[in-house]
């Protein structure tokens, strides 16, 4: 019977909280996914793992922006995340560049998103004026 992805993610997240050798864990997870034919679900599995770790106070988010963020910008992003996750013990921010955003920043977490990019504002502006039309 196919293992529930959520249960699998729970097991992996638990291991990441206690294990020291991440490479060993990666090999074990990869082997399991190959054996069960679940390689396509890797992205979803990792999102689940991030979400479960966030419940334990280890918040990870992806900061997407059109331009490279400075250290000060990253500190601001961490401060925003701490506002939304007051019980967070550790906040990790990964950067990704996407010129399509034009400006501003988009924070992406497994089940949530905070989009303050210029592109989102333009898109919302278009939809608001289209509704009224």
């Amino acid at each position: 019977m196919k293992q529930s992805r959520h249960l699998l993610a729970q097991a992996v997240a638990d291991k990441t909280l206690h294990i020291k050798d991440m490479k060993q864990l990666s090999r074990e997870v990869a082997a399991y996914l190959l054996h069960e034919g679940l390689v396509d679900e890797l992205d979803s599995l990792l999102r689940d793992v991030i979400a479960i770790r966030a419940e334990h106070g280890l918040v990870e988010a992806e900061a997407v922006s059109a331009h490279q963020l400075s250290d000060a910008d990253l500190n601001d992003v961490r401060a925003i995340l701490k506002e939304y996750y007051p019980h967070a013990k550790q906040v990790t921010v990964h950067q990704r560049l996407d010129a399509n955003l034009v400006g501003g920043i988009k924070l992406v977490m497994p089940h949530q998103q905070l989009d303050e990019s210029v592109r989102a504002s333009i898109s919302k502006f278009k939809s608001l004026t289209a509704e009224r039309a």
Binding site: S44, H111, D115, S123
Partner: protein
């Protein structure tokens, strides 16, 4: 320089822009989002959105700045199966999906009357936006037992065979079932035309599910020509529309009809046809990996139609006494009414009108099989006038059918048998009716009275329709006030009956004299 757009007010545009900017100034908050992991065949599988409700509307970011609407149809532990409403080619894996917090709603109200719309209430007729002030949910629970009243008011179709033998009442569900090209839609169209001709005030809703667009266009053209479009809403989906739209169309139409029902008005809804609706639902269910059952339909295909048809009701006086009458259409294959979907819908509805292919090709149109057709509401939904003359019609025709087969093998028939056969032939001939010519109550009464009193027994078979036309012409021309009285539906008195019978006999006599002269 291009022509400026008409009706553009810069002041309004300026106000719109300012209020849009004001909304944008509010700081965005963290929102629940999901990610599309797989997309194809009109279905998007979405990771996340753990608080999503069943049938909740979602928006998915497409390429460019499009936002494509979908609704959650499969709520799994690990992912959501969402059915896309519209073009799924704009969505790619990795796209962000958001909840809207709403279930699917459509605009409702009198603003939709006279319009052709899709199941989302968007106009298809090029007459501009529909400025409906209200919306309502597409999926709604049907009224309970205490909110209902028994069907007791007639919904006149204008088709003699139906109003006499298989009468339909307001709030009833009467199934139109038969093979392709047997006149099912024609009956539905004539019923709509009759609502206009008789000024009944009934609002028509015609739901085209997966029909050829050419057929829908022809139908709309005919409705416009007959002046019926002014009291009709057309909800159209073509065969090339996604299965999701074909699935939603009947429910959207029912919601539009319920607006009038719940406000003390009467509405008639035609689902053309539910066979295609079931096929669209099967397609969606299989793509969503739901377990297939009999004929590959999902296990809840009965519920698909039962929850739709239960919304056609006659409401109690306390609830406004409005009604929604449903005429669902089912297409059979080779006359098989014992197949899966036909039997499902037959068991849900309050009767069926069965159209037979061989009757159609014999020239008996409408090709109604009197033996297999039934109305479970019966005489309660009949005007007293028609009821008084239609009592013996069914049995006369049943006897004729039995004897007709027998008579092919025997030339030596007793007078009684021969009389029954001749009477049956004349009844059959009189029940034939051209398309787009629904009869009013007085016309039906006069025809049936003449037939059942034997007035036309001596008229040659090929002259029956002419005799009928002459009778109606004379009654309309010489006795308009009497016919108006009959048209109210009350049973005419004996004096009026005798008058009509006398006129019918006189007309029949003229054909007998003609016949003698030719001989």
């Amino acid at each position: 320089m291009t022509q400026p757009a008409i009706d553009v007010s810069i002041k309004e545009l300026s106000d719109d822009i300012r209020s849009a900017i004001a909304e944008l100034k509010v700081r965005p908050e963290i929102e629940s989002t999901g990610v599309v992991t797989r997309i194809g065949d009109g279905v998007a599988w979405i990771y996340g959105l753990t608080s999503c409700g069943y049938n909740e509307m979602l928006t998915i970011e497409g390429t460019g700045d499009e936002h494509i609407t979908a609704f959650a149809f499969n709520l799994g532990e690990d992912e959501i199966g969402a059915v896309i409403l519209g073009d799924d080619t704009a969505i790619k894996a990795g796209a962000t999906a958001r909840l809207t917090g709403k279930v699917l709603e459509v605009p409702v109200g009198p603003e939709l009357v006279g319009r052709v719309v899709n199941p989302l209430g968007q106009p298809l007729d090029g007459k501009g936006a529909i400025k409906a002030s209200e919306t309502d949910r597409v999926e709604k629970v049907a009224p309970g037992v205490l909110d209902r009243k028994g069907v007791h008011e007639p919904l006149m179709t204008g088709i003699t065979a139906i109003d006499a033998m298989v009468p339909i009442g307001r709030g009833q569900r009467e199934l139109l079932i038969g093979d392709r090209q047997t006149g099912k839609t024609a009956i539905a169209v004539d019923t709509m035309i009759n609502q206009h001709r008789q000024n009944t005030g009934v609002i028509n809703i015609y739901v085209a599910v997966g029909q050829k667009l050419s057929k829908v266009a022809r139908l709309i053209e005919r409705l416009k020509r007959e002046g019926v479009m002014d009291q009709t809403i057309v909800v159209a989906t073509s065969a090339s529309d996604p299965a999701s739209m074909q699935y939603l169309a009947p429910y959207a139409g029912a919601t539009m009809g319920e607006y009038f029902r719940d406000r003390g008005q009467h509405a008639l809804i035609i689902y053309d046809d539910l066979s295609k609706h079931a096929a669209a639902y099967r397609q969606m269910s299989l793509l969503l990996r739901r377990p297939p059952g009999r004929e590959a339909f999902p296990g809840d295909v009965f519920y698909l139609h039962s929850r739709l048809l239960e919304r056609a009701v006659k409401l109690s006086d306390e609830k406004g006494a409005g009604s929604l009458t449903a005429l669902p259409i089912i297409e059979t294959q080779a006359g098989d009414i014992s197949a899966y979907i036909p039997t499902n819908v037959i068991s849900i509805t309050d009767g069926q009108i069965f159209m037979e292919t061989n009757l159609f090709y014999q020239g008996i149109r409408p090709a109604i099989s009197v033996g297999l057709s039934v109305s479970r509401v019966g005489g309660n939904a009949q005007t007293k006038a028609v009821k008084s003359v239609a009592k013996s019609l069914r049995i006369n025709l049943a006897q004729f059918r039995e004897l007709a087969a027998f008579s092919q093998f025997s030339t030596d028939l007793d007078p009684e048998t021969r009389h029954r056969i001749e009477r049956g032939q004349r009844l059959t001939e009189l029940l034939k009716q051209p398309q787009y010519t629904p009869y009013s109550v007085w016309q039906m009464y006069a025809i049936l009275l003449a037939a059942t009193e034997g007035c036309f027994d001596t008229v040659p078979l090929d002259k029956i329709k002419t005799a009928e036309a002459n009778l109606l012409r004379e009654l309309k021309h010489d006795h308009p006030k009497d016919m108006e009285k009959v048209n109210t539906g009350d049973e005419p008195d004996d004096k009026l009956r005798e008058k009509i019978v006398k006129i019918a006999h006189k007309i029949a006599e003229s054909y007998r004299s003609e016949d003698k002269e030719t001989k």
